[in-house]
Symmetry: C2
Subunit: 135 residues, 2 copies
């Protein structure tokens, strides 16, 4: 299969890929898809699982994933209702690419942090002079 080049003349491919990546490249999306790889989960399990995600951001991200056809939401008619989230078939196909990105992040996060510290040290602007408070 020929790999399509990213800078094709008409740019249609490029725009389409940019649109998809703006959704699946999101950090919460990556973390949630990676977590759901092991099976369906409930909302509060996911909230505990992804450290630092707010209730609102988890709700929005799951709704976006559901809208994109990557996650299915199932409500079981129990009292209280049980709601589960699971990857769809399309979502399952994404886990390989997502895992590669997650593994890279775990392996190279420290090297990136080191590069950032060096860059900031080399490009720091002089501190602003102290000024007395304007009335």
């Amino acid at each position: 299969m020929a790999v399509r080049h990213i800078h094709d003349p008409n740019g249609a491919d490029c725009r389409a890929v940019a649109g998809v990546l703006s959704r699946i490249g999101d950090k919460w999306t990556v973390l949630l898809v990676e977590m759901l790889k092991d099976g369906p989960m409930r909302f509060n399990e996911m909230k505990r699982g992804v450290n630092g995600i707010s209730q609102r951001m988890l709700t929005l991200t799951l709704r976006g994933l559901e809208r994109d056809g990557l996650v299915a939401r199932t409500v079981y008619p129990t009292v209280p209702p049980k709601v589960e989230y699971a990857l769809t078939g399309l979502g399952q196909t994404l886990t390989g690419a997502i895992a590669a990105l997650g593994d890279w992040a775990r392996a190279n996060g420290a090297a990136m942090a080191e590069a950032r510290a060096k860059f900031d040290a080399a490009h720091q602007t002089p501190a602003a002079p102290m000024t007395s408070g304007a009335s």
Copy 2:
């Protein structure tokens, strides 16, 4: 090598990965790294290559990639000066994971768009009633 679980009890791994992903998961980052895989490029070449990127966003994204140690900027002392951007060794290691994501996006963008259209049709809110303009 043991794969670390995303929802580890202390959450440190999860936070670190989220931080890295918030940088490398960005759509412009993915497109630029994919483009630089084939060799160094000049600013205007990249601007033409990534359809839809603004001058300002390209500048910011390249500076972010340089800060993260993924891209090196080289200035050649010609008149006018020639400036080239190239992947660093660390940046090269990222191309495999990035290509997997790009390929997935190209293969499944249409399926995602279809899922979105279905979701929106099922969840549409009734149109707001027409109101006469308030004075």
